[in-house]
Symmetry: C2
Subunit: 563 residues, 2 copies
């Protein structure tokens, strides 16, 4: 989820039990990566079993809350839900009008014309319906009535009491009739009416003939008129039985029918709030109404399908179904390499056992026997062959030229690192031939083999991680030894005059440290680009830790001379 959070606002009642009202709205906003703000029109003592009592603050206090939000932040889209009574409704309308009138682009308003709760409790006084119709609906980008609400609104508009919406044709006509009352678009939610596949044959025929009418099958792989057969035959829900239709009417005369399978569930508390809040989020991101509605209907459908089963009555939805936790924190000023930090942290004491190994300590004090160092240099020369070859595999796994060039640069650097090894050997009287025929120790072969194993079994990212532990670890050893010499000379640490001065200075030096920084940045960029799952992070941590252990074993081996 990016740092760009559109600001969205809900003006509605509350639900302490968390499934509906501003609570459901805020959860939906959060699940969509939006910054949620919310104004309470009425406190409602309710839960999954129904509405028990309502306490409404003075309408002026509702207006005050709205001003707190809109005067402080630029709202990108907003919705209204339960507006309680005429006075509150008027306070909301006036405050929004006062603030946004004269603004070039007032944010899109979604009106969820909440009138009656599922449990039958009136959430909008009857006399307020008229006001909503005359004054609020014309401000709306989208109004989202369910069938009873649509019937009530149309009856009120027509001063009649006869609207009955039972067929597809009724729904299409009613959505358009509601559109004539002022809003830019109407989403007539069909959850109260059940359809079968056969009810839709005529609709689908009309849709092919009529350019202003289109039909969208949601979860199309299963429920479409031409489902993917291999998937449908494995689905336990018969795809064309018991369908729900939502009809979107957009001015001047575009109609879209969204079709989805009906879910056999009682977890529907807060469905309307959730849907309208999801539409707000999609509009806030600039989606066209039809795309916004499509995404919101699907989000809500899935939220119902994965409901957590909380409460004794009509349960709440699962607003969190589309969220996963980011396994690596965002990069920050204080932590520029959060991925590598996490890798090192996951190693626990094994990382210290590697970078502060007794071999390193003796080397830093200059007390390491030369034979051990010679042994180490010879084995490291052999190890570097694997390291270069693994980088060759990295080229083979790269998909961009810069990535290939970076790996090739590493190969070149490794090859020139080996000439330092060769010079040191020559200095110690080890001939090139002796170096070349030195048998690989088990620790060398194990580590080299593991790099090739990762190269064969996994992808470029994992290989980059495997190669990273060595690169970063040697950089750490270099810096640590320089700091030890500065801060703990009394313990015998020294660089100046140390027989291994050149080795320490090489790894602490600018050239190598620059390579480390480049490597760290490549690892972090890879992580930022791919945003790995928790499972993949575990795989990476496993690889990093295994390499850390192999590094430690390598130095254990170097402490035991077999020359």
């Amino acid at each position: 989820m990016t740092n760009e959070q559109p600001v969205v606002l809900t003006i509605a009642g509350t639900d302490p039990s968390g499934g509906a009202g501003i609570q459901a709205d805020l959860k939906t906003f959060t699940a969509h990566g939006c910054f949620g703000t919310s104004v309470v029109t009425a406190l409602v003592a309710q839960n999954t079993t129904g509405v028990q009592a309502v306490h409404a603050p003075p309408p002026e206090f509702v207006a005050h809350q709205i001003r707190c939000v809109v005067e402080d932040a630029k709202v990108d889209a907003l919705k209204t839900g339960m507006l309680y009574d005429t006075e509150t409704l008027r306070a909301v309308i006036t405050t929004l009008r006062d603030h946004f009138s004269g603004k070039d682009m007032p944010p899109p308003l979604v009106v969820d014309p909440v009138c009656v709760s599922t449990s039958g409790h009136s959430l909008l006084h009857r006399d307020a319906v008229e006001t909503m119709l005359r004054e609020l609906l014309p401000m709306a980008a989208v109004v989202t009535p369910n069938v009873p609400e649509a019937e009530l609104l149309l009856d009120t508009a027509q001063r009649a009491d006869e609207t009955k919406i039972t067929t597809v044709q009724d729904m299409i006509a009613s959505a358009s009739a509601l559109g004539a009352l002022g809003p830019q678009a109407v989403l007539l939610k069909g959850g109260h009416v059940n359809f079968k596949h056969d009810d839709l044959l005529e609709l689908m025929k009309s849709a092919t003939l009529n350019a202003t009418l289109s039909v969208v099958w949601l979860d199309a792989a299963v429920a479409g008129p031409e489902p993917v057969a291999v998937i449908a035959r494995n689905a336990s829900t018969a795809p064309t039985e018991n369908l729900v239709l939502d009809v979107l009417f957009e001015k001047p005369q575009k109609t879209t029918v969204f079709i989805r399978p009906r879910l056999d569930t009682t977890s529907t508390h807060g469905t309307g709030c959730t849907l309208s809040a999801a539409i707000v989020c999609e509009l806030a991101r600039g989606k066209p109404v039809r795309d916004a509605v499509r995404a919101a209907v699907l989000y809500t459908h899935r939220a119902i399908e994965s409901a957590p089963g909380i409460g004794k009555g009509h349960g709440p939805l699962n607003h969190l179904h589309a969220l996963v936790t980011r396994p690596v924190p965002l990069k920050s000023a204080s932590n520029p390499f959060p991925f590598v930090s996490a890798m090192i942290a996951a190693c626990g004491h094994e990382w210290s056992a590697y970078v502060k190994h007794p071999f390193v300590v003796q080397l830093g004090k200059g007390t390491l026997p030369l034979d051990n160092f010679k042994h180490f240099i010879k084995q490291d020369w052999h190890y570097l062959k694997y390291y270069a070859r693994a980088n060759g595999m990295l080229v083979a796994k790269s998909s961009t030229f810069p990535a290939m060039a970076a790996a090739a640069t590493t190969i070149q650097a490794v090859v020139s690192e080996t000439s330092t090894h060769e010079e040191l050997c020559a200095q110690y009287g080890v001939t090139h031939k002796e170096l070349r025929i030195t048998q690989e120790s088990a620790a060398t072969a194990a580590y080299g083999g593991y790099l090739l194993d990762v190269a064969i079994s996994s992808d470029a990212s994992a290989l980059l991680v495997a190669l990273g532990a060595c690169l970063v670890g040697y950089g750490e050893v270099g810096l640590w030894l320089v700091r030890q010499a500065k801060e703990h000379a009394e313990d015998g640490f020294t660089v100046e005059g140390n027989p291994y001065q050149r080795w320490i200075e090489d790894y602490a030096g600018d050239a190598y440290q620059h390579a480390v920084t480049v490597g760290l940045e490549a690892l972090e960029r890879m992580i930022l680009d791919s945003s790995p799952s928790a499972a993949r992070m575990q795989e990476y941590a496993h690889i990093w830790r295994k390499c850390t252990r192999l590094e430690k074993s390598f130095w254990d081996m170097a402490m035991t001379v077999h020359s």
Copy 2:
């Protein structure tokens, strides 16, 4: 995020601007995968610039809201924030006590003793502090005062007016003194006091000597007493300058000091609400207090550091920093294979261009010239070599024996599929030698080469996706042709008596369809296990689409005879 959502409750005031109060709590709950419920003690007209007005509902209505929540769902942990006045506070205490007393394990309560807003507005009447101290604190698992609140609480307890908390020692002593007032644990938040690294030297010495005192460096890779040097040298924030300390006291006498870098920011609106809400979530999941506090402090620190910069005053935190969007919907009854559905949907019309290719249509009608079919069979025989080899690479990339066995089973199935090809060839007068020396067409080599490319450049998951398009597509073709024969015989589709009856029945038959189901399940399991990032999903979609195009090209090629 799993479907297991612990139920958590906040009892607090509101912030319409979304940064503090129950709004911040609900966002924090959602970000932690918890099911948030919330009781409003007071409506507050506030935003990032400060508190403007408060409207409190009758205390009995606050109690009513609490009952709505606790009588409907099992609450796993809860917090209190702004409690406004003595009457509201008493209503909260009595209602919680009435409900939870006698319960075996009342859920842990986190008390955020909100007294004064950042902007200096009183959020708790002065006379209520005494009640909070005497009656609410003893119910708390954790109480989370900041320094001014701790001073006020201690002064009130001691009927004095002299507490001043300015040093590390003050903080440790005050946390313990607050502990003596009843709560199980005290988190004294040190955001109001600034420390330098040198202030902590004595603390760190004491911690090594004192078994009841420990020091935890958060973001340890940077700020610890022994930072990772290669990371610290690249950090733009000096790690040991300007530190913040939070002191956790746990009964009987364990003290933990959490140290983190101070962030140079004004985005701190709602920090206390967020922190206590995060502790609630961690406790609800059963974490011990110390681990819960550690995680919550880190969550809040990162939320401040990545603040979205909204509003004109003290901006809100980024509650969403740890969330990413799930790119594949959860599996459901109506959509058992959401990953493969998404892959097919992402292909758009190209999937139909493959599975309903003119070659397939002519084959289903029996009108396909035999030469084209022969050409196809011969090339398919060559293609299957690549397919089997790619499965061999899949074995090499597998980390479990069952995964190896599954790929080996596919190899066996492919090899036996080729004997059908050989029999068909023999039937058409094509000798085995002719088959063997038939030159690969470009389409065959391109497709086969691509499978090996994925095998080299990526990991087992990506290879499984590449191998899936063929497996699933042929299953789809088989089922589609059988349905066409049933529903569109008038267009010439037929199975019975079709010269290619055996081919159709092979792919529509139980054996092959079972293999498809097994393959689909393997793909979905892989996705469920690895929960790929959006970037990885794009990579998978790219692979699936490329294979879909290569399949289409393969049939294009088969339509052009070169025998």
